[in-house]
């Protein structure tokens, strides 16, 4: 059996007194696309931020690409070098050009040469259709273009796992499509994706499995057809009836 790309074993996390992740068990196979959904405050973002150590987990074991996140700087750095992340609010670096945003990680974290880093960045910008904007500043781009740059920036790590935290929630409706198209392309290309999203059409079309979370727990995990057509848990049914109308 192939070892999982990401594995949670009985993971708990706390923000102060608040118990935000409760007994999470989840294994994501290499190349798999997992969509995580659930009501606001259910711990979805915390779950994927725990994967690259942006949130420290209080108990349990998280394994990423065979490395155990034990809270040490060494393990955290090693995991972050293998995991790309895309945020809801893009978080491009506004003082750097699109190309410089993308070469930052190759130059600093991967210690590539300038030429190699530029070629790599231009390659990934081309993949998201924005190679012609390499010299622009983020503020000159539309929201959809910024998010595509953020995806290219994460891809420049050549990650084994991509984490996406509501990548389309801050976008105008007409720009959601272009970002989802890039993500669909990534998922079909065999990148391991962990994606928090409310785009149920995307989940149904692209996900291998859908995870439903509520109150810090995983309530239900199912392939998309089963998840949407025959949700098992009453809380899942209530959630789906609310968002699908």
């Amino acid at each position: 059996m192939i070892p999982p790309a990401v594995e949670f074993v009985d993971v708990h996390a706390w923000f102060g007194p608040t118990h935000v992740l409760r007994a999470i068990d989840l294994a994501v196979a290499p190349g798999e696309t997992v969509v995580i959904c659930g009501p606001s405050g259910s711990g979805k973002s915390t779950l994927i931020r725990a994967v690259n150590g942006l949130v420290a987990h209080g108990a349990g074991t998280i394994r990423v690409a065979g490395l155990v996140l034990d809270g040490s700087a060494k393990a955290t750095d090693a995991v972050r070098a293998r995991v790309g992340m895309v945020f809801q609010s893009f978080d491009l670096f506004p003082h750097l050009t699109v190309l410089e945003n993308c070469t930052l990680a190759p130059l600093h974290a991967r210690r590539l040469g300038l030429k190699a880093a530029r070629d790599l960045a231009l390659g990934h910008l081309d993949r998201v259709g924005l190679a012609d904007r390499a010299g622009r500043l983020p503020a000159e781009l539309s929201g959809g273009q910024q998010q595509r740059v953020a995806i290219a920036r994460a891809l420049c790590l050549e990650p084994e796992v991509m984490l996406l935290d509501e990548p389309t929630s801050a976008l105008d409706p007409e720009m959601v499509g272009e970002v989802l198209a890039v993500l669909t392309d990534l998922a079909r290309g065999g990148t391991t994706l962990l994606c928090v999203t409310h785009e149920m059409g995307f989940a149904r079309a692209v996900a291998d499995r859908v995870v439903f979370m509520d109150e810090g727990q995983i309530v239900e995990i199912a392939p998309p057809d089963a998840f949407f057509d025959q949700p098992q848990h009453p809380r899942t049914q209530a959630f789906l009836s609310r968002i699908l109308g």
Partner: protein, 383 residues
Amino acid sequence: MSSDGNPERFVRAAMIPPAPPPRRLGGPLARIRATLFPDLANGLVTLAILAALVWLVPAAFRFLVVDAIWTGASGEACRPEVTGRPVGACWAFIGDKINYLAYGSYPAAERWRPNLFFGLLAFGAAWMLWLGAPKRAWGAVYLFVAVPVLAYLLLAGLPALGLASVATALWGGLLVTVVVSGVGIVAALPLGILLALGRRSDWPVIRILSIGFIEFWRGVPLITVLFMANVMLPLFLPGDLTVDRLVRPLVGIALFASAYMAEVVRGGLQAIPVGQRQAALALGLTPFQATRAVVLPQALKIVVPGIVNTLIGLFKDTTLVAIVGLADFVRVLEAARADPRWSAPAVPVTAYVFAALFYFAVCFGMARYAGFIERRLAAGDAR
């Protein structure tokens, strides 16, 4: 309108040449009206300012230029009863004392050394301030490392190199003001940045030490700092260890300014969204790299006005070193005007006007340069 007859007789055969706009809508008169007298209140303010200018500008011009005395060897030349006409500024006095104002009591034969220092400093400053200059990273190394070392060797002297030692007690005037404010600026900016980062550190020891340092130096008046540095510091040091009379206030001013600088920089750090740091960490950058490449450049850009404000304050505060016996620019001006050979009513006034013009020129230059930098950075945002 009649429908009979040839309609073409109502059509003009030739174009009418364009007429100028009504005088109330275009031209210089209308512009003056719109900008200076748009309504009663603004019109009154305009008139009040005009009246003040009419009253002040000719008087200042008469004092500074028309009635000014340009040549003369002593105070006699600047006395109205001798010249037989109204006397304005006594520029002859400044001209006579210019070397003293520039170098203090620095030996006349060695004055090429401060001159060379001013030249090296001006070259480095121009290299850094001119944004299009080549190899500005080397400019920074030159200005922040090479110039201080060269300046020390040049000004204090190194007999082994054939440069006679010149005691700091002899330094004075512009030289001391430039050295004190230069050291203050060069030390305050990096120290302030380190303190601001330390104050936001996750490590309690570093955070508490930074807070303690900043609050201590901000809580003490600069005069007290200077007295402490001058009088108390030697008491705390072992008897055989003496710190130079010039270095003591230098250290005091540098630490004092860095505490203020730290708070300015901290304001910028707090304005950067936490997502920027998280995005940098998620890209595999170490916390140090995330700070250096992502957070700090954005934070410093925001606080350019505050940094320049602090530097201008620091520059003017250097006049306080006169209190602990350093012969800075204002102090030598005071000494020069007390020269009995130049006793004339116009001389003290001239001295203070000259000091005001000097400090204003430097501070205004700093402010204008900062404005230029801000506009450039803002243009980068809007592009």
